[in-house]
Amino acid sequence: METKLRALPRRNVRSVPKVNSSWKKVLHNYELYLFLLPTLIYFIVFHYVPMYGVLIAFQDYMPTLGVSGSPWVGFEHFERFFNSFQFWTLLENTLELSVLQLLFGFPLPIMIALLLNQLRNQRYKKFVQTVIYAPHFISVVVLVGMVYVFFSPNGLINNFLMIFGAEPVHFMSQAGWFKPLYISSGLWQETGWAAIIYLAALAGVSPEVHEAAIMDGASKWQRILHVDIPAILPTAMILLVLSVGNLMNIGFEKAYLMQTPLNVSAGEIIPTYVYKVGLQGAQYSFAAAVGLFNAVINFILLWAVNRAAKKLSGSGLW
C-alpha cells in the first residue's frame, strides 16, 4: 500500500484530502481497533469514570442519588480536613516517610550497581544478583509478617540484642520505631531489584572507554568516578524525577499492615486515613476529598520536578 503511494507523482498524493485517507486507514485497520477496544473500555470505566466520580469530594454524596444527583457543598470537606487535628500529623508522616525512603532508596541501588559492575568473577556476580533480587517477589503481607516475627519481644532481633545484655525492645508497639522499620524493610526488599536498571546502563558503557582509562593508569575507584557515574547519570535523573513525582504515593498497603494501636501515631499516612475514614467509616465524600488533595499535591510535584529536570539537564518525562 505504502509503496504504491510512493510510486505516484507527489502532487497526486498531496491532493488526496487528509481526513479521507485517515478514515480509510481506520477502516482498513478496523481489527486493530477491536484489539484496542476492551482495553479502552477498561481505562474509561476504571480510571476515567472514577476521575469524574472524584466530584463527590465537593458534594454530600448519597449512594441513592449518585454523582449527578447529590447536593453540592463546595470546599466544605476540604476545610474540615485542613482544620482537623490530624491534618498536620498526617501530612508530616506522609512526607517524612517518603522523603526518608527517597533519601536512602535512591542512592543505595546506584552504589550497589557500581560495585557489582566491578566484580570480575561473572559467576559470583550472577549469584549476588540472584540473591539480592529475590526479596522483590515477596508479598507485602509476608514482608510485614516477617517484620512482626523478627522484631517481636522474643524474636530474632531481640534474641540477638540480648546476647549483649540488652533489654528486649517492643519494636512494634513504639511509635518511634515505625519509620526506621518501614524504611529498612523497604530497603531490604527493593534495593537489589532497583539496581537492575543501573546495571543495564553500566553494561552499555563501551569497554574501550575503560581500556583507555586503564592505559592512562586510572584506578578502579577513579574509573567509577569518571566513567561509570557519568554513564548512569541520565538514567538516575529520570528515576529521580519519577520518585520525587510519586512522593505522596507512598506504599499504602505496607503502612497499613505495619500499624498497631500503639504505633499508629507515627504510621498513619494520608492513604491509610482515606481507607479508614472512607471505606471503614463510609464517609465517602470526605475521604474522596482527602484523596483528591493527595493526588493534586502529587501531580503538582511531578510537574514541577519534571520542569526543573528539563531546565537543568534538558531531559524530562515529557
Binding site: 485497520n29 482495553t39 476521575m51 463527590i56 557489582l116 540472584t130 526479596p135 516477617m146 581500556e211 511531578l302
Partner: protein, 305 residues
Amino acid sequence: MTQYVMNRSKLWSRKSKEDKIFDLINLLFLTTLSLVVLYPLYFIIIASISNPDSVYNGDVWFWPQGITFEGYERIFQDNRIWTGYKNTVLYTVVGTLVNVTLTLMAAYALSRKDLVGRNFFMILFVFTMFFSGGLIPTYLVVKNLGMVDTMWALIIPKAVAVWNLIVARTFFQSTIPDELLESAKMDGCSNTKFFLKIVLPLSKPIIAVMVLFYAVTHWNSFFDALIYLNNEDKYPLQLILRSILIQNEASASMVGDVESFAAQQRIADLIKYGVIIVAAIPLLVLYPFIQKYFVKGALIGSIKG
C-alpha cells in the same frame, strides 16, 4: 587478532595495589550484602522446623534445633489455608489470562505506526499513571457494577497495567519488522491472522514476561480482596496470611488443643514461620529458573520508561 585479544585481557587483569584493596573491600561488602538479604529467609526455613521453645529462647541461629514438623502438620490440617490457596490459584489463573490477553492485543495495536490516533490512546492510558480518581471513587464504580464479593472485583478493575502495556508495546515495536507486515499484507493476510499466526509465535519471550509479572501481582495482592470481599470462603491466601501473621489469629483449630497459653503462643509462632514458607513455595521453587525473564521485562520497560 589473538595478540590483540590477549593484550586486552592482560590489560583488564592489570592491577595496582590500590585496585587490589578495592577488590577485596568490594568482595567483602557484596558478600555481606548477600548474607544480609539471605539470612532472614534462611532463618525462617530453619525456624519453621525447629522446636518452638528453642526458637523462643534464642538457641536457633545457624542450624535447626530439635527438628519437628508440627508446624507444617497443623498448617496442612487447617481448612482456611487450603481454601485460600485454592482461591489464590483460581484468581491468579483467570486474572492472568484476562491481563495477558488484553495487554497483548492492545499493545500490538498501539505498536502499529499506521494506527490512526495511537498517540492519543497512549496519552490517555499513560496519564492514569500520574493521576487517578483515588480509592473511594474507584470503589464506588466497582460497587455500582455489582462486583463486590465476587472474584471479578479482583480481576476486572486490574485488567491492564499501564507499565506492562508499555513494556509489551516496546517489545513489538522493536522485534516485529515492518517488512514482515508488508509482505504478509501482499499475500492478503488480515491483521488478526497476522497477529495470531506471525506476531504471537515471535513473541514468546514477552508472553512469558507478561504472564510472570501479572501472575506474581495476583499471587501477592491482598488489598483488593480486603476492600471488595466480605465472604471468608472467597478470601485469597494473602488475607489468610494476614490474619495468621499480623493479626496473630492462628485459628482455634490450629492451636486449640494446646493447653497452656504460653505454649499456644509458641506454636502460633512456629505456624507463622511455616506459613511464610508455604505461601512462598511456588515462587521460591520457580524463582531461579524464571529470574531472567523478570530482569528482561524490567529492562524492556526501562528503554522507553
